[in-house]
Subunit: 365 residues, 4 copies
Amino acid sequence: MNQSSFGNKFVITTWGESHGKALGAVVDGCPAGLPLTEDDIQKYLDRRKPGQGPYATARKEGDQVEILSGVFEGRTTGTPISMAIFNKDQRSRDYGNIAYTYRPGHADYTFDEKYGFRDYRGGGRSSGRETAGRVAGGAVALKLLESLGINVFAYVSAVGPAAISSIDKEERDRNSLCMPDAEAFKKAAAWLDTCIHDQDSSGGVIECRITGVPAGLGDPVFGKLDAALAGAMMSIGAVKAVEIGDGVLVGTSRGSLNNDSFYMEADGSVAKASNHSGGILGGISDGSELFFRVHVKPTPSISLPQKTITNDHQDTTLEIHGRHDPIIAPRAVVVVEAMAALVLADALLSNISARLESVQRFHKP
Amino acid sequence: MNQSSFGNKFVITTWGESHGKALGAVVDGCPAGLPLTEDDIQKYLDRRKPGQGPYATARKEGDQVEILSGVFEGRTTGTPISMAIFNKDQRSRDYGNIAYTYRPGHADYTFDEKYGFRDYRGGGRSSGRETAGRVAGGAVALKLLESLGINVFAYVSAVGPAAISSIDKEERDRNSLCMPDAEAFKKAAAWLDTCIHDQDSSGGVIECRITGVPAGLGDPVFGKLDAALAGAMMSIGAVKAVEIGDGVLVGTSRGSLNNDSFYMEADGSVAKASNHSGGILGGISDGSELFFRVHVKPTPSISLPQKTITNDHQDTTLEIHGRHDPIIAPRAVVVVEAMAALVLADALLSNISARLESVQRFHKP
Amino acid sequence: MNQSSFGNKFVITTWGESHGKALGAVVDGCPAGLPLTEDDIQKYLDRRKPGQGPYATARKEGDQVEILSGVFEGRTTGTPISMAIFNKDQRSRDYGNIAYTYRPGHADYTFDEKYGFRDYRGGGRSSGRETAGRVAGGAVALKLLESLGINVFAYVSAVGPAAISSIDKEERDRNSLCMPDAEAFKKAAAWLDTCIHDQDSSGGVIECRITGVPAGLGDPVFGKLDAALAGAMMSIGAVKAVEIGDGVLVGTSRGSLNNDSFYMEADGSVAKASNHSGGILGGISDGSELFFRVHVKPTPSISLPQKTITNDHQDTTLEIHGRHDPIIAPRAVVVVEAMAALVLADALLSNISARLESVQRFHKP
Amino acid sequence: MNQSSFGNKFVITTWGESHGKALGAVVDGCPAGLPLTEDDIQKYLDRRKPGQGPYATARKEGDQVEILSGVFEGRTTGTPISMAIFNKDQRSRDYGNIAYTYRPGHADYTFDEKYGFRDYRGGGRSSGRETAGRVAGGAVALKLLESLGINVFAYVSAVGPAAISSIDKEERDRNSLCMPDAEAFKKAAAWLDTCIHDQDSSGGVIECRITGVPAGLGDPVFGKLDAALAGAMMSIGAVKAVEIGDGVLVGTSRGSLNNDSFYMEADGSVAKASNHSGGILGGISDGSELFFRVHVKPTPSISLPQKTITNDHQDTTLEIHGRHDPIIAPRAVVVVEAMAALVLADALLSNISARLESVQRFHKP
């Protein structure tokens, strides 16, 4: 797989730097016949847009997506769907010491070590803006999942010490921190006010729940569904931990507590008495809700002075001016949904040929 | 990527079921000229072997690896290295109710849902024995890393409530739980005795530290080094969480605490004052120690009676007889090392063409 | 590999339909530090442009490429290079019976059978315009090859019965049929005048010669350099045969005639007394000139009435109006160069890790 | 794709050197539920076996395949199918000057240039014996195709100047040159007698016809079905040209002659009045017979003295002793069938997700 592509059957390739001409994505392998409009994409990109509140940058990105190929008369044609978001504001500006100072917690130093130089404008390829392409591609995957009755729902479950204790789906879309619990939101807001006052930033936690997933998705060894999800989530900048189901709790659990008992429902369907596994057994979906959690580090750009080095290897002190989000997690919620959808779309398409009888049915209709 | 292969340039393909004729691995893309013998592989396979103590199954596997191709006069030739481990004991036996009862916490149900039927003998492809192929392939990767001065060291850091408080590398190889802390081992042993007495099992935690890794490995977007590691670790059966660096702690941390300051060493090398990042920034290695942690669920096969269903969808109660490990984590330590080595070998080979000057130097010697 | 991507290390993904908003390509894996401008791409796209003469369509495409990412301060950054060519003229027009009649020799019927419907405007994804993306991506590869001293030169060697008997590189760029032999061009022109008069079209042959290729490129089994070239060439629409070196002549040849003897040059370099192999032995380049030939079918769109069927499966007679090239081969010359360059760039980057000593030299500088 | 693997969904990985311990193949992605025995594989391997006649080496290989994984109770399980062929005769022998002399027409020189050294025993990885793994894997693909009503039939159509003029399928299996025309066989035999008398060898031509292929296989751009077939065929050692349908004739043809008219059959099926395209339009199968032709070079190992160089770069004269086949083509017939089947199996599995309605039908049964 090349470095900027993801997936085997439903494949996304993203491109673009933060302050370049444009960013975008190419989706290849989407089945023909899926209704798709720019609005289907735009509504997810709008969720990436900074809000009005105090916990998000005031920079008004206003990303507008254009579909350049792969859709004809409102439906996908089976050929690559190319999407682009042009940067409206491309004024030359002074990037100051960012050009030659390595910001702690950022990829500046590692890019220079890898490539010899870097596009330092706004973080270049390593900016959070890179995720716009993922969200555009993920929106196509989400549209496909929707047509199959699969629903993906992510939310911020904790901001620093403020954690949710209930899930109200509509509340998630009402507050600026994507938290599905109004009480937790208040505590989180107070905590962030403290962080902002301290010229500091905060970490957060995102949870994702996916319903309607058929049993049988994922492969037994390297292509486990949870392995694909873990890789996808950890590929989102700032994510430092991924838990499936009970996650880190399994280390201190016992078999009798961690196993999920199967039983038969009255309607003849298979059910589990609990879901410690997060909906995946042996790397393959078991038909229950998929559940996982990702931990997002605090915004590394803070106003506090920080010790670091320059690109000619001199010690220095860095002060990052301008406005930065005090927390990354809320804006990453839609990215988590996008990446989860890409994993599932790929698994769904890959799985169709798992049994001879399916292959025969398809080719001998 | 096919389901049973892993990697892009240094590629392993594994095959084999628990109670089939043999298990094995094919390694493709290993550079020519690497000294390699069966002993280099065998020493890692021996670490998978059940010990004598009370915390491992008594079944004497005694896996012996054979190299079938790809090595000539003691060195790799650049062609595929095929390795096989033949099962010595292939007596037909009675698998009892395993054949038609879905064990909770196992892949029995999900395999049937995916493929329509399964090789139920000893767990088939989903058995822990599947990792023998990974360890064989990982041993080749470890030999390659060794030739480049890179060292991979994993260990059990916690067994249920018993966690290590120090790291003594030699102690790891002295005790049957792979814990690098003799005091913690004693507490862990006591905890496992309780679990065994209760006909139950325990989870555990594994940590991995890798030194000598050059800066610049990994790719900026989907091919992040931590994404590859997370996917690799989560592909190991029973792993339910992966943390890089500070991992789950980042959610409650602040930017000023989580950022690692750069500074110049007296010898002119770049250093970091801390390593909250676990040695990876923006998905690319930063030259400091790689550090990550995986959480392993308790052995799902326990002697306590469990409610479940049969493959013809009847409720039933399952009692699993015979001897099972009360904990998985210790035997997974060498698998963690193998998978980490496979990720790094792949990243090392992929990275060579990142800069034009390297490509030119190679092709115009 | 996904259907619209090509390559393993140096990867191109193309997108776009003939009459859509735009066409383009994303190049991923190009080493950082390669000088690259839009002019470097444009000069190859201009060679695809229809000429003024009688043997090319009068439609003035005037494709202008834009580089949207991956280049900073005039050099590639190692991140994906996105290139787009916007269609200037997007008027709605009447596509007449093309929308529901299957043109013989075209992909209309097979697209409908595969996808259920198709973008019929100008051939959609199966138009010759699809190659614009390949040429844009190939131009980046050609720039990389140039920096390594490798030269790719393709030309039309035959038009119907008119074949070249000598190679004058400059003559190729002087005449509208890309033939490197002025005499042969005259005969070819006369032949094409006959075809046009007959409302018919002609096939042609393209040859490609590549110099400066180091020995050692390509892999021994499935990844043979000639296999990659053959696949790449046959992926160009209208190509129906590929020959490497002596090609179809080998079937009637003898070993003593077909083998190329090695000998030592006075300067200590290895040489071959002949080049029947076309520069490849056992799938690996041998350091001599790469030579191959492709056979291009006649333009399937002809003015003569043709029997065919409609998409609701009725017999009909089709008359294709408008202007069409009487021959495809000349405009495919630059596409052959582009695809050959993509194969070689990929092989060059892949080959760097073939030997341990190279890997060690890179990682221990 | 790694160098020794082939395919995207139905993937074969081969391994093994001519005189190593064993050769083999791993097939990954084969649907679960396909009946498969060792006899299904063996019958194809037996066709590779040298015959009794004068036109094949007397060495009695007697390859016996063992299935080591992936089959349970007579059916494939969906997990990797590992197959091995152990070399019975592994005596140490004197390889004489082969170890340090570069044989013209072989990969000796290019291997050394690529890898720095090589396993010279019997040609190592570049021996014709490498194809045993392909045939084993191809046999699984052929079994899958058979279950879908697809038939693959290849044969030698010419040996030097002796070409067939009719096709008698049973005759192919009666004579030692795999020619489906008894008259042509006699002429071919006479020609080969001359070659043998002259201590020389002959080239040949293989044709392949595949019936029962549904329309819609293959992808529009890089993944064209003919591109995959061309790459697959050219990856067979000694193949130097591939033609699809009319092949090299298209260069001198006209559109009116080369286009195949569609018409409706009385039974309501779509048909073509001719098959110049070889069953593929725009890279996608059109439902008619697939037809292609490959040209195989003469055996490079001949008894006549040849000028060449040693691996320390000295001019020398080589005399190859021992018995060698005077022609390669007949033994490559089954390899052509195997590779064609691998391409088709892959295309069949990949194609199932081309339309949304198929995906929906599968996931909402």
